[in-house]
């Protein structure tokens, strides 16, 4: 069995990665960068679940309410995220439709499901496919930011079109909900401690104390 830093009584700094010895008293501070040191992120699972549940709740209005309201001489139109993708697809810009579908629909959903699976796997103490789960976490952490795409698109369209006489574009209520989903899922991914995936299943007391 390979030794983890925590099982050797060593703390690694989450900010600057310096390894230092744990002291018995109080909250330890990294001697190099001054950050608080923990064996595992405190309350990691609870915080991740809290952010996830909030994200799930907001995911519903983000997808059912309109994200963009367009008024023009040819009538008005309310676009949800999905109808925007469908519009792009039917318009022949299938490559854009794929990008927006991936960033706005697939990524947030995959992040929520993936993090829930990771949390459950830690709570049920399964030793199943640790390396794949570690890779899943890395993937979730790196693709999460791309969900902001739709927010930026709405911001730019609103700006360019708002002043023309022919049409006006306004941001819909889903923009707020969707922005919140992106931020909440990013916070959830940061709250999760991937080191929990590798902790041995045998010592629940030690882990409970650490988490």
């Amino acid at each position: 069995m390979q030794a983890s830093a925590a099982s050797s009584g060593l703390l690694s700094c989450g900010a600057c990665t310096l390894v230092s010895r744990a002291t018995p008293a109080g909250v330890a501070q990294c001697p190099r960068c001054g950050c608080a040191l923990h064996f595992r992120k405190p309350g990691s699972l609870g915080r991740t679940w809290a952010f996830l549940i909030a994200a799930i709740a907001l995911y519903v209005p983000a997808n059912t309410l309109p994200i963009m309201l367009t008024h023009s001489l040819f009538g008005s139109q309310d676009d949800t995220i999905i109808s925007g993708v469908v519009f792009l697809w039917e318009d022949g810009s299938w490559y854009l439709a794929l990008i927006v579908f991936f960033a706005s629909i697939f990524v947030p959903l995959a992040k929520i499901i993936g993090l829930a699976v990771l949390c459950l796997s830690v709570q049920l103490r399964v030793a199943w496919r640790r390396e794949q789960r570690a890779r899943l976490y890395r993937l979730i952490e790196s693709i999460g930011r791309w969900s902001m795409l739709d927010i930026f698109v709405v911001a730019l369209l609103v700006t360019v079109v708002q002043l023309t006489a022919l049409a006006s574009v306004r941001a819909g209520p889903a923009a707020l909900a969707f922005g919140a989903v992106v931020v909440l899922t990013m916070c959830a991914a940061q709250s999760f401690d991937p080191r929990l995936l590798w902790d041995p299943a045998k010592e629940p007391d030690e882990r409970r104390a650490a988490a």
Binding site: V19, R130, Y137, L149, V161, L163, A171, G179
Partner: protein
């Protein structure tokens, strides 16, 4: 400090000895494959040069329009600040703040923190307030989303192309450059070098 030779993987906590990776190379965790650190020749000097470049590009990106729309002789420019203001005026203050935060303030904070930390080292001095600025740097690089914003601008460009004449502005090119330079900073900057020199 002798324990500096010990490394703990940030993602799986495996304790391993630093095998003194030759430059330029990446050290990967033996168990889970996470990047432990990367080293580069003159990593700090290059990071500083790239940071200066990026600051200039960020200035240009904020001063000029991203996209211009021409409809029946009427021309509208969309600058980044204009986009934030437009969302704000539509009662979308939180979304406006989110855009300002991720596309303007966090990239700016990341670059200023890097410049503050790296420039004194270049002249053989030690930077003041290393600790809080290092933390700011890490926070800002996580929440700055220049590359996502570039893709968002391209998507908007194509979407608007169906409506009217759209022109890509100078700021769009500056943002593309900024995206590339910031990726290069990520590849060259190794916090370990910083701590070695900043003490």
């Amino acid at each position: 400090m002798n324990r500096a030779e010990l490394l703990a993987c940030p993602e799986c906590d495996l304790l391993q000895s630093d095998s003194a990776v030759p430059r330029p190379h990446k050290a990967l965790c033996a168990r889970c494959g996470a990047v432990l650190y990367q080293r580069h020749d003159q990593g700090l000097d290059r990071s500083l040069a790239l940071t200066a470049t990026a600051l200039v590009l960020l200035g240009v990106a904020n001063a000029f329009p991203m996209l211009s729309l021409e409809l029946q002789g009427e021309r509208t420019d969309a600058t980044l600040a204009g986009a934030v203001a437009a969302l704000w005026s539509q009662n979308m203050q939180l979304v406006a703040l989110l855009v300002a935060f991720t596309a303007i303030f966090m990239p700016l904070a990341e670059l200023l923190a890097l410049a503050w930390l790296l420039a004194p080292l270049r002249f053989g001095r030690r930077a003041a307030h290393v600790r809080p600025l290092f933390r700011l740097l890490q926070f800002a690089s996580r929440w700055g989303m220049v590359e996502v914003f570039v893709l968002g601008t391209l998507v908007s460009y194509v979407k608007l192309g169906h409506l009217a004449n759209v022109e890509a502005g100078i700021a769009l090119w500056a943002f593309v450059g900024l995206m590339l330079v910031m990726a290069a900073i990520d590849a060259h900057f190794d916090p370990r070098d910083l701590w070695e020199h900043a003490g």
